[in-house]
């Protein structure tokens, strides 16, 4: 009953979906509580776990006595590492950044030694979660405390010989990997030492050291895992960003064939990189469900989440910038120490490497050197947190550009303009070796200035400075770019990453004409169901409502590489586009057959194949029905117009933007109040402006939080002091303001949508904008830096002449020395006068 339209006028064209602020499909279930969080799952006979965790940062486990625990109500078993064989598997590091990388083995349960406070040493299995938790209190573990490597610089300098504390004494060092990029050696630019030497003779050399404090991703849904071992396949539901990678890791490390494992990420309550991990907890639930033959669940408490889910950032950055007297940058040398924590997490070592290509940002200076030492400590492991390496790099260069402007005595926007790549120069190969395909920094900056009222605010700032107002106005600039859309597989291969960066999509044309889109990208708040529906609706010319997007289940989406690195739309979305194009091409001969026309005479428009020059045509959705019946197909045609595609990008893409921030700083109390924030981002073609705005807003607040509020703090014994939401200060609604955002558009040339990633942009851009604003407010007071987070106390101290306002207790004084393994020395501390 295929409706071949002989003369009837075709249905009116559907409104274009791309660019439309569609309300989200996902919301109906989320606003009514019809949600499927992993912790909601209850299965017959399900058992519950509680973890016994080390309270010490570093300790030998000398005995575990579970006698009392085993007698508690509802207890099924208490399990230690000794009870489980290699079927427990291990946590893998998928990105050894150098062949020589020192990588400690990471068993999900510590057997003889705990290497951070929060590491699992035993597991209690009970009939209810409450019983399991109660009994966990009764497990007695004897520990002999060991010296703990806690301070990043001290850990870098420690050796077996000098008696410094080692995170893993058997390794004899805390140094894990040393990774270098040098533009002279790579042939992408000149020699940085020459540039610095020249600038020392005639020019400007800025030497700075910045601290990227340790942060906690703090997704709102605590991690939870359920494993059902009954039936032919073992099914795992987990609050994860990476169901496909997790399935691979489970198979690779436990010996269970991948085909026997199904991983489902149901509704997932945020990730921000924090759920991009193969966790000990997941491995333990998987092993115990198999061992017990029963469904098993584990849901972490918030305290457990804060101390054991991976942390982010935590670097010292030593920077040497060379410039001419006119403020044109001639070279940049970057030396990093990066804290891995106790283990090298799945991509933990690679995080600083992701930043390596971004320190040069939007600027076209001729010489660049980057070196990074990753360091093991007895703290929670670190890994990706929104931006992963790129926020750190952007912070450093954008802070330096403000310092350079102050040195030269020009406006911070002027100094940037003297150095940035102009829009006529795209595509542009950077000194770090990337090819930026598109961008227009002039346009984004002009628009941001206009929205912000830049000149008026500068005038007000001047008035307040002159009148000696106790509340000073600061204006912060961040003209950021980033590389996202991870990633071209070939590039990942050249960086020794253990997987590719493609994404897969398939489109199923159902008998009723409805469309199922299956994507390997797995959303946890980003709105894939809506955005991908818009893309397919446009491409296939079908109603938005007729498209259903399926994801997050390895049995439904059989191939995929999941969601991180602002990749879903630009890699996953492009795979969807290509699958859709294949559907059209598969349907074309069928349309020609039914219309009794030649393929060449057909044109596909608005969901319909029409015969050129006539009114005859047939809708794609009706062709789906025709393949279901399969009564009348061209000879040899398979009865299906379904299609799939796997897309591997040829390049990253490079969103950019100009962010301007105004803060008021009370010079008597040190209190910083946000006054206004403008973000003009160029993220290429926007699919759904509403979703994009949400991504920008949320990203901004996470970046602002790094600047002003958040820091994971450990005490001298290595215990996490900020172990609950009482102490780890997520911003509240009262701490934030409304934002003004807009976009300029230079379409990406490396995907057919013209889109660029937006998930991380706000976070990457905003941290330096805010700190630049705080420092800008205080320049008349001789302040050149305020360490993050810029708390009132730290700001107040900086005003009183205390350099960057003091470090968090436990952090060493901010200067490098030879023993850390970094080359060169800096004899000036952060924030000191030139």
């Amino acid at each position: 009953m295929t409706a071949v339209e002989e003369s009837a006028s075709p249905a009116p064209a559907l409104e274009k979906e791309i660019g439309r602020d569609r309300r989200r499909k996902e919301d109906a279930r989320l606003i009514t509580g019809r949600t499927r969080w992993t912790d909601n799952i209850t299965l017959p006979g399900m058992l519950h776990l509680a973890m016994v965790r080390s309270p010490f940062a570093h300790a030998r486990i000398t005995g575990i006595d579970a006698t009392a625990a085993k007698q508690a109500t509802g207890i099924v078993d208490v399990v230690t590492a000794a009870d489980l064989d290699e079927s427990l598997g291990v946590c893998i590091n998928a990105w050894p950044i150098t062949p020589e990388q020192v990588t400690p083995g990471h068993a999900p349960i510590a057997s003889d030694r705990a290497a951070f406070a929060g590491e699992i040493v035993a597991v209690v299995v009970a009939r209810t979660a409450a019983e399991a938790r109660d009994a966990a209190e009764l497990v007695e573990v004897d520990y002999d405390e060991l010296p703990a490597a806690l301070d990043l610089k001290e850990a870098a300098a420690a050796t077996a010989e000098n008696g410094g504390a080692l995170a893993h004494p058997d390794l004899g060092t805390n140094k894990s990997a040393y990774w270098v990029f040098d533009s002279g050696q790579a042939g992408t630019g000149g020699d940085v030492e020459q540039a610095i030497a020249a600038a020392r003779t005639d020019g400007i050399v800025l030497e700075r050291e910045y601290r990227q404090q340790r942060l906690i991703p703090a997704f709102m849904e605590p991690r939870s895992t359920v494993v059902d071992p009954t039936g032919e396949q073992i099914t795992m539901w987990s609050a994860t960003q990476i169901p496909h990678i997790l399935r691979f890791a489970l198979a690779a490390t436990t010996g269970v064939p991948e085909s026997k494992i199904r991983v489902i990420a149901p509704d997932v309550g945020g990730g921000f990189g924090g759920k991009l991990q193969q966790t000990p907890e997941e491995m333990i639930v998987f092993a115990l469900a198999r061992r017990l033959g029963k469904p098993v669940k584990y849901t972490e408490t918030r305290s457990e989440s804060l101390m054991s889910a991976h942390h982010g950032r935590d670097q010292w950055q030593k920077l040497t910038l060379a410039a001419g007297r006119d403020g044109r940058v001639t070279g940049l040398k970057v030396e990093l120490l990066a804290d891995l924590g106790a283990y090298v997490a799945i991509v933990g070592g690679g995080v600083p490497v992701l930043g390596a290509f971004m320190f040069n940002a939007i600027y076209k200076f001729p010489a660049y050197h980057f070196a990074c030492q990753t360091v093991l400590t007895n703290k929670t492991w670190t890994d990706a947190y929104r931006g992963a390496g790129r926020p750190e790099a952007t912070f450093a260069i954008e802070r330096l550009m403000d310092e350079l402007a102050a040195e030269v005595g020009v406006d911070p926007l002027e100094i940037r303009q003297r150095n940035w790549i102009t829009h006529e120069e795209f595509p542009f190969t950077t000194v770090a070796g990337l090819e930026y395909d598109s961008g227009n920094y002039e346009a984004a900056t002009a628009r941001a200035k206009e929205m912000f009222g830049y000149d008026e605010l500068r005038a007000e700032q001047q008035r307040r400075r002159e009148s000696g107002d106790k509340v000073q106005l600061g204006i912060g600039v961040s003209t950021f770019t980033e590389m996202c859309g991870l990633a071209p597989s070939r590039v990942l291969g050249s960086l020794d990453y253990g997987a590719g960066g493609w994404e897969h999509a398939s489109i199923r044309m159902l008998a009723t004409g409805k469309v199922e889109v299956v994507t390997g990208a797995s959303a946890h708040g980003q709105g894939h169901e809506t955005a991908f529906s818009q893309i397919v609706a446009d491409r296939l010319g079908v109603p938005f409502e007729d498209v259903e997007v399926l994801h997050g289940d390895t049995q439904i989406a059989h191939k995929g590489l999941d969601t991180y690195g602002s990749r879903s739309l630009v890699v996953g979305g492009e795979a969807v586009v290509r699958a859709a194009d294949k559907v059209i091409e598969k349907a074309r001969p069928l349309a020609a057959h039914l219309l009794e026309a030649s393929v060449e005479d057909l044109e596909f428009k608005d969901g319909r194949f029409g015969v050129r020059g006539t009114d005859a045509g047939v809708a794609l959705q009706d062709l789906a029905t025709a393949t279901f019946a399969a009564h009348n197909l061209p000879d040899g045609m398979e009865p299906s117009i379904d299609a799939e595609a796997t897309f591997d990008p040829v390049n990253f893409n490079y969103p950019h933007g100009t962010h301007l921030c105004a803060v008021e700083v009370d010079t008597e109390t040190g209190k910083v109040t946000m006054r206004s924030y403008v973000a003009c981002d160029d993220i290429g073609v926007v699919i759904n402006p509403l979703i994009v705005a949400g991504q920008v807003h949320g990203g901004l607040v996470q970046g602002i939080a790094q600047a002003l509020f958040e820091e994971a703090v450990h005490d001298e014994g290595g215990t996490l002091v900020t172990g609950s939401f009482v102490d780890y200060l997520l911003p509240t609604a009262a701490d934030t303001i409304s934002f003004q955002i807009d976009h300029t558009t230079s379409p990406a040339t490396t995907n057919s949508l013209g889109a660029k990633g937006v998930g991380e942009a706000g976070t990457i851009a905003s941290t330096p904008a805010v700190v630049n604003a705080v420092v800008d407010a205080l320049r008349p007071y001789g302040v050149h830096d305020v360490a993050m987070p810029c708390t009132p106390e730290r700001v107040w101290r900086a005003i009183q002449g205390g350099g960057a306002g003091g470090e968090t207790p436990g952090a060493a004084a901010p200067h490098f020395d030879e023993s850390t393994g970094m080359s060169g020395t800096v004899d000036r501390t952060t924030g000191a006068d030139q």
Partner: protein
């Protein structure tokens, strides 16, 4: 075990429960009201917010026995006769949610806020939902959603894409 009688989302329920059981555990584990969620263990996040006799409470901070004789409304009971509550509608309209984990609590808190103050200023909204954490939205669109639900024009300087 203690016997409690209460009305949850319009349904009369009676149960024998452990005195230490939290209201949120009772809702989730005994009644299957999994729309209400737990985000912390220190009563800081507000994800578990429900209405107890018409006032918002953090249900992780209330014992189930304290709800004896009371009426509890959760996110699952907010829509009436298939009609979304205006605050639910506003969250969708203004994109006031992303992952949606904070959303049940955020909506219940906002409903309570508007009951007290039907035309709140932006500042009053921000203070009124201060006890509810959201990691995704940056609060911008949550504030707009509450403004929208109150029938006020939403804050200026919006997305102009």
């Amino acid at each position: 075990m203690t016997r409690i009688n209460l009305v949850v989302d319009g349904m009369r329920v009676a149960d024998d429960i452990e005195p230490r059981m939290l209201l949120v555990q009772y809702l989730r584990e005994k009644l299957g009201k999994t729309g209400t969620v737990v985000g912390c263990d220190t009563s800081n996040c507000g994800a578990c917010t429900v209405h107890l006799d018409g006032r918002s409470v953090k249900s992780c901070n209330v014992l189930a026995v304290q709800a004896d004789g009371s009426e509890v409304t959760t996110i699952e009971g907010l829509a009436q006769n298939g009609q979304l509550h205006p605050v639910q509608e506003a969250f969708r309209e203004c994109h006031g949610l992303q992952c949606g984990f904070c959303t049940p609590g955020m909506i219940m808190q906002s409903v309570d806020l508007l009951k007290d103050n039907p035309k709140p200023t932006e500042e009053e909204i921000r203070l009124g939902i201060e006890g509810n954490l959201c990691r995704c939205t940056g609060y911008h669109n949550i504030v707009r959603a509450v403004q929208h639900a109150s029938g006020q024009p939403v804050a200026p300087n919006e997305v102009t894409a």
